[in-house]
Assembly symmetry: C4
Homo-oligomer: 219 residues x 4
């Protein structure tokens, strides 16, 4: 029950952040005849909006997975969770900045730094739960923690590269952010039942995102 | 429980989108003596606001019905659900655009495209559940799926016609959007108990929206 | 469970509306030396803000009480509920208008009309539940419904008078809105346990709002 | 269940307020070459944002703790809770004002007054629950209430000092607000399991916020 209220609060924050993002897409104030051109000029904003929408969605998914293994919460966990929410709640600012100043290095860097901070906080929470098995449904095994390290390291490494590229190939930075997002989304999509994982090994979902419409037969 | 958190998040998004719509109705900045005329000029915005309010309400209702038959969720379902939420979360933008540039063809077309995208995503989710009976309380029968096809086809067909009419009879486009909304709302209102349907056949509610105040006697 | 999702959605809408109200209190853009005077000029907005905050809170309370007696929902109930939410969601607009154009008759009238529409919808829902005892935990007795009629009639009557007074004594209109709000809040505060009323008769709470700090002894 | 809906509504309000805070951090409108300098000038706003984020988070935590001991609610409790939410919902205004007019005495004073009002309301709710043991899971002991008095007195006392210092040492006021926040956060973080306190005595958490990463062994 305690956990449920933390989840309700966190779900609320995620739902609000993901919905507020649209408020930064201001409608243009132009003559009706110039509306089409004005909307085309907004495409970088739209791209940043969609990217950020799925970034927040991904963090919600990640939060869900962490919280699923928690059975009890303590004060420190609540503050760590709040710091995690801080870096997510902040997202409308870098998203709006990146949409307003596309291809500029400072907005790209700020966007990437926010992604890294949120990522690192998520990892700290995982470490904290590893050290506090009494808070978890099942104690986190060292092997399970070790399996997660490369995912965090690779995504944060790519974010750092993307920030660096902002000075020379800013379009590439966008591409890298989108690529990490797509990679993590496919990773999550392949989890058969993300909230009741089979113990011991993770069962990859044979149905691929791109294939399911084609209709695999399944018992 | 898993499902409940997805529902809580989705309910949050719907509740926020439906409430944010009012933020786009900015109060006019005029002399008090000109306030009445300024408010009358806002009527197209008010119409678009009310239309969009019920559009979002309708999608919430549809989400509720889909989610009711789900007993378990997987990664792909979560992303499909997020894409559905994306096209709903976007709604304040086309609504605001249509209110600001009434009778203009581009805003009418963007509004209709968003409705179609949301509709198609809802249908894809239904198809996905049909192909994954292990996620459902009861497997979706082919007959049940086939019954839904005309509803999606008719509403999307009318949206396409409305988009086309934007170039010659823009008022008609508004009328068609409103008509589809009204048709779907009455359809839903006639469902006796939308969340515990009798198996096998759907029981139409004899009480009509327009009649209930008149007071049908009921056991 | 069905009801719970309707409640979660409605609670979300109420929570968002009540919180969005503050967004209409824009901070003044003046020289620091002129800040004090600028803030004093905002007092009418602050008054309207506080009034609207408790109006929305009161409707949340009323929604809670209605929903408490419901055990099952149908399509019509969902739409009636959505219309009720519409008139609550709209509140930031009249509140903002009244704060921006204080003592002007049109904003006062629009504010009052929204209150009346929300009130009437609430009453229609009560009538609907009376006619559909199969949706309720206990059928609504005719006596109980009749007891509520004067409350609706008096509050709406006063709202109509307040709207009329806007043309001659606008300050009085504010006073009447606030008086109805205070009256209804005290009425609700006196309910001992609003969500588990004793059957047959309503027990008034002997502890008054103004007295409880003084410390009535209670078993 | 009744309580749960009050919690859901309150959680919603906290989640929205904490997320809305970012909307007041408007992106600067400058030439791309001046963006870095413009962002540096926004640092006072960022500081106020982070401070306010954790202030709201702290009140959410406090609300959670109060609500945890409640088993039943009455009308007066609902209004007291709503007044508490009012002083939290208002927060975006003083936060925005303080960010826009840093080091100015009026914004510092308004910020502090809001903190004091929220604090006092929280204390009144505790007193109310003490006087109404029938609403609580366990009656609040006089000793427990007396233990809380110094915390309220000290924090409010420091707020008053901070408001006074705004006229001579405004930076000090910020420092005092932040210090009280940090003190209360550490106090809460040390609670082992805030929502299932051992009866009779509160068990301090031996794990310190600053130490846990170093890895205390725990059974």
């Amino acid at each position: 029950m305690n956990k449920q209220r933390l989840e309700a609060f966190s779900d609320g924050v995620y739902a609000i952040v993901i919905t507020l993002l649209i408020l930064d897409i201001r409608i243009p104030e132009v003559l009706p005849s110039a509306l089409g051109a004005a909307l085309v000029r907004m495409l970088p904003q739209v791209f940043t909006y969609v990217l950020s929408f799925f970034v927040v969605g991904l963090y919600w998914f990640a939060h869900h997975r962490v919280s699923h293994q928690v059975k009890q919460i303590d004060g420190t966990f609540i503050w760590l969770n709040l710091i995690w929410l801080l870096f997510v709640s902040v997202m409308p600012f870098p998203a709006s900045l990146l949409g307003r100043y596309p291809l500029q290095r400072i907005p790209i860097a700020i966007y990437g730094i926010d992604l890294i901070l949120a990522n690192v906080t998520g990892f700290l929470i995982t470490v904290y739960l590893k050290r506090h098995p009494e808070l978890c449904v099942h104690p986190t095994s060292s092997a399970s923690l070790r399996r997660q390290v490369p995912v965090y390291a690779i995504s944060n490494g790519i974010y750092v590269v993307a920030i660096g590229l902002a000075w020379i190939l800013p379009w590439m930075s966008y591409g890298l952010y989108a690529a990490v997002l797509a990679w993590l989304m496919v990773r999550y999509a392949r989890i058969n039942n993300p909230f009741q994982p089979k113990k011991g090994k993770r069962v990859a979902n044979p149905t691929r995102v791109g294939l399911w419409i084609g209709g695999a037969k399944r018992g």
